[in-house]
Amino acid sequence: MLELRNVEKVVGEEVHIRPTNLVLERGTLNVLLGPTLSGKTSLMRLMAGLDVPTSGSVHFDGKEVTGVRVQDRNVAMVYQQFINYPAMTVYENIASPMRIAGKDKATIEREVRKAAGLLKLTPYLGRTPLNLSGGQQQRTALARALVKNASLVLLDEPLANLDYKLREELREELPRIFAQSGAVFVYATTEPTEALLLGGRTATLSEGRVTQYGETIDVYRRPGDLLTARTFADPPLNTVAMTKKGQVLHVDGEQAIPLPPHLGAVPDGEVTIAFHPHHLSVHPVSDASAMIPVKVLVSEIAGSESFVHVDYRGNRWVMLQHGVHDVEADSSMDVFLDSRHLMAFNADGHSLNMSSGGV
């Protein structure tokens, strides 16, 4: 169990990590989700012991490890770049952490074979990494992290430099491969879809702050604040400023939408309404669908689905539709908003939904 207690990191004038409390259990996959420079790597460096927090403490399995060097902790790390020993064979690369640990020959042989089997590297054991494809190089790095039998495994955007389809394959294998070892897994990514596919738990990061931590799907469905909702949305979240009065939501006195029951706790006044692109549609999907006139900016067809970028009173929205909807640019159309899935946030960005999560 890895525990961060009030961990903060300040370098010079810059705050890299704001005071953070986080408890990560063994045998779980924890996703750090946030855009570039949101603090994912900084947080991982603190977890690993590569950096010492400015204040606060790090605990592992109940023991304080705040000042302990990374060499003296049992940590494995995999980076976005494919980092292997270029002059060694794949076999030797995988074996290297065990050789350092002084394991006997038979154990090394057995563990290398096992890891290579899991990561589909068996045919390449005799090659050097530079003669492998990017995917195989990263598999080698992952295998090395695996045999180290570390209690904390940090994966910093490990699939970012791989081809789309290879990502899909490895992403499916990763949780399965690492699930058995009982270590704490931390996986940093910029992509919301990746977090959802990996499952497990997710901590969303924004400007050095963990905005929410919980079961991945919960964080996605019930964000505690607008920042979390924005971080965890791909395509981007659609928002619009509305006014709530009685049982109605409206924009500048027009466009009245009956207040859906789950927003019953919203006080009268200004609110920010947000919703995901797939809750906007060309046809009404239920009685709770509200018709909204918009201007079409451009439509993108992605085979099975279409992304229609629209403008509603200066707000840029994306509508995600199954099937092909090639709407002419700059034309007007009516779209339908499924009000059952609306999220409401107050001026401070806090969620006003009845069952929202949050920190």
């Binding site: 081809d163 389809k165 959802l196």
Partner: protein
């Protein structure tokens, strides 16, 4: 703006290619329309970069000719081809301001300063860097630098074609949405011929009118996003496009029905295939319907990805994925049906006409 003709082009990096496998790029013979948006899509090593370099003039093909608007440019160097290119990583002139970076290609061509100013300001507002115009390019973030690179590619109005080499690799997901739609809008408005190389299907499908799917040095299909999705010509296209990719299962023919394991699936008519051909049935996860009646499956995992669920199952011993809407209940005794229109039959990996 120009029509690009690829006339029997082949390329090999080795000195004396003798057989097909010596070619990094197998024969390409196509004509790309003036003002079209094309995407070259495929995994690394599929030859898409080779083809792009042949178009840009960085490589001279071992065989064949390349023509812009009917004029042979095969032996012309890059700078004489009048093209623009955006690279995978930001290429910017560190010591210049953002403004000067964008003005550079125009000033080099001795455009009047008033025109330069107009074009540059137009692009600046498009890439949303107007406030940064006077800043040195050096201190900017990777996102902003790549926007400058994109802007420099778009600033000239007289180019034959604009080439994009995986230009959104270093961009954050949210910014990708913005830049992609801006690029698309710009293409609609300007009518430039654009060629976009990527391994990311979403980028390729959303950007292009026609997607060129490449695999092992060969073009396996050129088609609209919808064609690639609904009628993949090759099992590779089925696998590579779509996420998850197409379900592909070994099959046999019995009359006009396909047989997978113990299940028979009717086809509209009996397809014409040689009897010794290796047959496979392809069905997209989007067209697998979860139902109470139909063919039995064993579900191994349900992935909730927010807006939809991906059901991973076993069908007659073969892995099968199904995509269902977010609020679908998974039945206790799960069964599936396949949309008849969405069935594709493959003989030796190539699609055969079934009348579907």
């Amino acid at each position: 703006m120009a029509r690009i003709t690829l006339d029997h082009i082949r390329h090999s990096y080795g000195p004396k290619p003798t057989e097909a496998k010596d070619y990094a790029l197998k024969e390409v013979h196509h004509e790309w329309e003036d003002g079209g948006a094309y995407a070259l899509l495929g995994p690394s090593g599929c030859g898409k970069t080779t083809l792009l370099n042949i178009i840009s003039g960085l490589l001279t093909p071992s065989e064949g000719k390349i023509l812009f608007d009917g004029t042979d440019v095969t032996n012309l160097p890059t700078e004489k081809r009048n093209i623009a290119q955006v690279f995978q990583f930001p290429v910017i002139y560190d010591t210049m301001t953002v403004y000067d970076n964008l003005a550079f290609p125009l000033r080099n061509r001795k455009l009047p300063e008033a025109d330069v100013d107009r074009r540059v300001n137009e692009i600046l507002s498009m890439i949303d860097l107007s406030d940064w115009a006077k800043r040195k390019a050096q201190g900017l973030t990777a996102d902003q630098k790549q926007k400058i690179s994109l802007g420099r590619g778009l600033v000239r109005s007289d180019v034959n074609a604009i080439l994009f080499d995986e230009p959104l690799t270093v961009i954050d997901p949210h910014m990708k949405w913005v830049l992609r739609s801006q690029l698309k809008r710009l293409h609609r408005r300007s009518g430039f011929t654009m060629v976009y190389v990527t391994h990311d299907q979403t980028e390729a499908l959303t950007f292009a009118d026609k997607v060129v799917v490449m695999y092992e040095g060969e073009i396996v299909q050129i088609g609209t996003p919808v064609e690639l999705f609904e009628r993949p010509r090759h099992t590779f296209v089925g696998y590579f496009i779509g996420s998850p990719g197409m379900n592909i299962m070994p099959a046999a023919l019995e009359g006009s029905a396909v047989v997978v394991g113990n299940q028979q699936i009717a086809l509209p008519k009996r397809p014409a295939v040689a009897c010794e051909a290796r047959l496979e049935l392809g069905i997209r996860p989007e067209f697998v319907q979860l139902a109470r009646d139909g063919m039995p499956i064993a579900i191994s995992k349900v992935e909730d990805v927010g807006r939809q669920k991906i059901v991973r199952a076993s069908f007659e011993g073969h892995p099968l994925a199904a995509v269902v809407p977010e609020d679908t209940e998974i039945p206790a005794d799960p069964r599936v049906t396949f949309d008849a229109d969405a069935l594709n039959l493959y003989a030796n990996s190539w699609r055969v006409e079934t009348g579907a």
